[in-house]
């Protein structure tokens, strides 16, 4: 195809014939896809399709006698009928596919708002809202699954939990999650361990166990796939020289519609281009003493931030101990339930205040590239949150089961409180972080200017909130309801705050790489951590004796053992038993799988090295070919 003047013209008839021949060999869907991807105008595409249809008809007509011959051998009517039905069905499926696509697009939640935000603030800020919507979908799915498979059977049967007569609903339950809520289907403790005999035998134990584990496994798979595809698109194929001029020019955001935003972007782009020029022209040469001083500063601040994170974790631990002793002591406080809010309050306060210190440290350490700065900040924040969560989980797994008879609902309530107080602090944080900064930046200290929307900090907050929900699903199956409400309100709150208080980010680009990092963070420390907590609970801890669906068992996982024994009795399902005993329970299997995966990874790594060398050789070849050919 020749590129000429204004239009791409399929100049030589032979080229068009080649294209048509290629198309005819494909299936109809492939044909359509290929024609759609041709970079020509609409009229040309229509022309190609028309010619191809005629050609097909000729093809069919030429083999029609062969068809007839074949038909005469079979039962003609039946064959024709089946052929027609198949063709009709294929067409229907294709039409159906189109309408599914358009229906799913119209059902997309918040499409108008996302377009508005993307238009004004660009795709890095939009990443936050996309992630928020994605996590909301996780919670909606979790709620539907839990409610459908666990709660509804319980409510439908006669074994719904009874509320003891001297407990009534006070307003405080909304905050603490204890009291009246303790006796509802909100928590683990209210679920029974019986098998309901009805139309079908419904075993509550198996239902509870399998619902939670299947949901967690599905979440993990979705996260792995999206992380892998995002990694492949945005990291493996991406250029390492991120500040290059081409990257900046090619990532001009065409979806920005606001005139002021466009002018601001142009300004920012000019500044970035000038920066990239000066970086290339003058490379800083630091003397050794300056370098040592710089490393000393880095080391000092890293020590300080790690110390802060560890200190926070330790203080939370002592606070939990203190709260426990206060509860045990006979002179009890005036309002024992309100006291339980102390730990969540301190946790959320730390999560809000300490990252400000980290940002302050960042201003004193001068990192050489902006990328390293963001990574350092993210790492410190993640360390802080993980240490606090780790201490809390340690406390819940070790100390709580010994102190309470019905300990799972206690953990569930603690998580509920954390989620609610975290929500309140998120709202307050939006108020202080964005609204007040805007007021200070515009009226009191105009030099600071309008604040930018801090994407990294906000994303980390919602990842942390989702981790709490994931840990809490086992102990409180209806916690996703609270999470859904929380994320829903948070979306509108952040949108309003963004539009009124913030300006678009000054440095453009690298939105796609940040998205990969966020998904990676969501998966590796946070989801895997939550999964390990739940797995540890199911595997090692003894369920409480008198409440919950696993009462009386040694550990939760033994439910599957009992189920396998039941299945063993039927001879038709012996293969399930075989799989369980030789695959899931045997160590040799996992050892072999790990070995095979390691070998495959090594082979792929060598392939990548080989490909890199090939690219270098090909580039040299292109230069040689270009210089050898005489200019025309």
């Amino acid at each position: 195809m020749v590129l000429s003047k204004n239009r791409l013209v399929v100049s030589c008839p032979t080229e068009e014939q080649i294209l048509i021949k290629e198309l005819v060999a494909l299936s109809t869907t492939e044909q359509i896809r290929k024609i759609r991807a041709l970079p020509v105008s609409f009229e040309e595409k229509k022309h190609v399709r028309l010619v191809e249809k005629i050609f097909l008809k000729i093809c069919h007509w030429s083999v029609f006698p062969l068809y007839l011959n074949f038909i005469q051998k079979c039962n003609r009517d039946v064959y024709l009928c089946v052929l027609l039905c198949c063709l009709l069905l294929l067409q229907l499926i294709r039409r159906f596919g189109y309408s599914i696509k358009s229906i799913s697009q119209s059902l997309q939640l918040w499409r108008g708002i996302m377009k508005e935000i993307g238009g004004k603030f660009g795709s890095s800020v939009l990443n936050y809202f996309v992630l928020l919507k994605w996590l909301l979908l996780f919670n909606i799915f979790s709620f539907l699954v839990n409610f459908g498979f666990i709660t509804i059977p319980l409510l439908v049967s006669d074994l719904s939990p009874n509320v003891s007569p001297n407990v009534s609903f006070r307003g405080l339950e909304l905050l603490t999650g204890a009291g009246y809520f303790n006796y509802t289907v909100m928590y683990y403790g209210s679920y029974s361990n019986e098998t309901f005999r009805g139309l079908v035998d419904y075993d509550m134990q198996l239902a509870y166990f399998f619902t939670i584990s299947v949901y967690m496994v599905l979440c993990g798979l979705v996260l792995i796939f999206s992380m892998a595809s995002s990694f492949k698109k945005n990291y493996a194929l991406a250029d390492s020289a991120s500040n290059s001029a081409w990257q900046l020019l090619c990532s001009w955001d065409f979806s920005i519609t606001n005139e002021k935003a466009v002018n601001q972007r142009k300004n920012n782009l000019r500044i970035q281009l000038k920066e990239s020029l000066s970086e290339k022209a003058h490379r800083e040469r630091q003397t050794t003493s300056e370098q040592l001083k710089q490393y000393g500063i880095y080391f000092g601040f890293w020590l300080l931030s790690t110390g802060l994170a560890v200190g926070c974790g330790a203080s939370i631990f002592y606070l939990c101990q203190y709260e426990n002793e206060v509860r045990k002591s006979t002179h009890c406080c005036r309002n024992p339930e309100a006291e339980t809010l102390l730990v969540p309050f301190v946790v959320s306060l730390m999560n809000m205040v300490i990252p400000l210190f980290f940002s302050l440290f960042n201003k004193f350490e001068h990192y050489s590239s902006q990328r390293r700065q963001i990574y350092a900040l993210l790492f410190r924040n993640v360390l802080l949150r993980l240490s606090i969560l780790g201490v809390l989980c340690y406390y819940w797994m070790n100390t709580v089961p010994q102190k309470f008879t019905c300990w799972e609902p206690v953990v569930g309530q603690a998580l509920y409180r954390l989620v609610i107080v975290d929500f309140i602090f998120l709202m307050l944080g939006s108020l202080f972080g964005e609204f007040l900064s805007n007021v200070i930046g515009t009226k009191i200290q105009p030099r600071l200017g309008v604040p930018e929307f801090d994407v990294a900090r906000n994303v980390l907050e919602i990842i942390y909130a989702q981790t709490l929900a994931w840990i809490g699903i086992y102990f409180s199956p209806l916690l996703p309801v609270i999470q859904i409400l929380k994320f829903f309100i948070l979306f509108y709150l952040k949108k309003v705050s963004l539009i009124h208080n913030c300006q678009p980010p000054r440095r453009s680009g690298r939105a796609a790489q940040m998205k990969t990092i966020f998904i990676f963070l969501l998966f590796i420390p946070f989801f895997v951590g939550a999964l390990s907590i739940v797995a540890y609970t199911a595997w090692s801890l003894t369920p409480s004796e008198h409440c919950g669906p696993f009462r009386g068992l040694n550990n939760t996982f033994s439910v599957t053992g009992e189920w396998i024994d039941d299945v063993n009795k039927l001879s038709s399902t012996q293969w399930v038993v075989w799989i369980y005993q030789n695959v899931i329970k045997s160590e040799i299997f996992y050892f072999l799988i790990t070995l095979i995966i390691l070998v495959i990874i090594y082979i792929f790594w060598q392939l990548i090295q080989g490909r890199k060398e090939l690219i270098v050789l090909l580039r040299k070849q292109i230069v040689n070919v270009g210089s050898n050919c005489p200019p025309e």
Partner: protein
């Protein structure tokens, strides 16, 4: 096959769905917005052509630095005046839609950046590109020294066969290594 009256015929709708990357909703919305741009008497014309100035009143294109180039690239008119029929408009939206492939987007991006339409990006095109994106007025332009340095950096990076210009394959090679391109080369009605 144009658009008669203000309703799209059913088979033309399915043809549009087949040959563009747009869904039915997007095509109907595009049709509505396109008919709003027409005068009353033009609406009964079988294949109306909207002049460039009217297209550029659309809010999605009004502030775009490349608005004239976009109209010129997608226009199929003989006079090369940037006017668009409905099918050209659908072409435009399809190339800028979410589901368009990277090849289509990079192809059209190349043609949009090729200001003199000669099939390659030479120094003049690159200079016009940078000026388009940094500002038109005197005090916002880059100085000529900076411009020269910038263009030589760009050519260093992307001109593989060292002929002083960037052709389509070299451009597509650079684009394939820039992950933000697909999500930023987007216009949605």
């Amino acid at each position: 096959m144009g658009t008669t009256a203000s309703q799209l015929a059913k088979d033309s709708l399915s043809e549009y769905q087949e040959l563009t990357f747009l869904t039915k909703q997007e095509i109907l919305l595009a049709h509505r917005r396109f008919t709003e741009l027409l005068d009353r008497d033009e609406r009964n014309h079988p294949n109306p052509r909207v002049p460039m100035e009217v297209i550029l009143t659309l809010p999605e294109l009004k502030s775009n630095p490349f608005k004239t180039r976009i109209c010129q690239v997608f226009s199929t008119s003989e006079d090369k005046d940037g006017s668009l029929t409905f099918e050209d408009f659908l072409d435009l939206l399809s190339a800028f839609s979410d589901s368009a492939t990277l090849e289509i987007k990079s192809h059209y991006a190349f043609r949009i950046f090729d200001f003199d339409d000669d099939g390659t990006l030479d120094c003049g095109d690159l200079e016009k590109l940078v000026n388009c994106l940094t500002g038109e007025t005197e005090d916002t332009r880059l100085s000529s020294e900076e411009m020269r340095q910038l263009i030589s950096n760009i050519l260093d990076e992307s001109d593989i066969d060292k002929d002083g210009t960037v052709n389509l394959s070299e451009f597509q090679h650079v684009i394939s290594r820039s992950p933000d391109f697909v999500s930023s080369f987007k216009i949605v009605l």
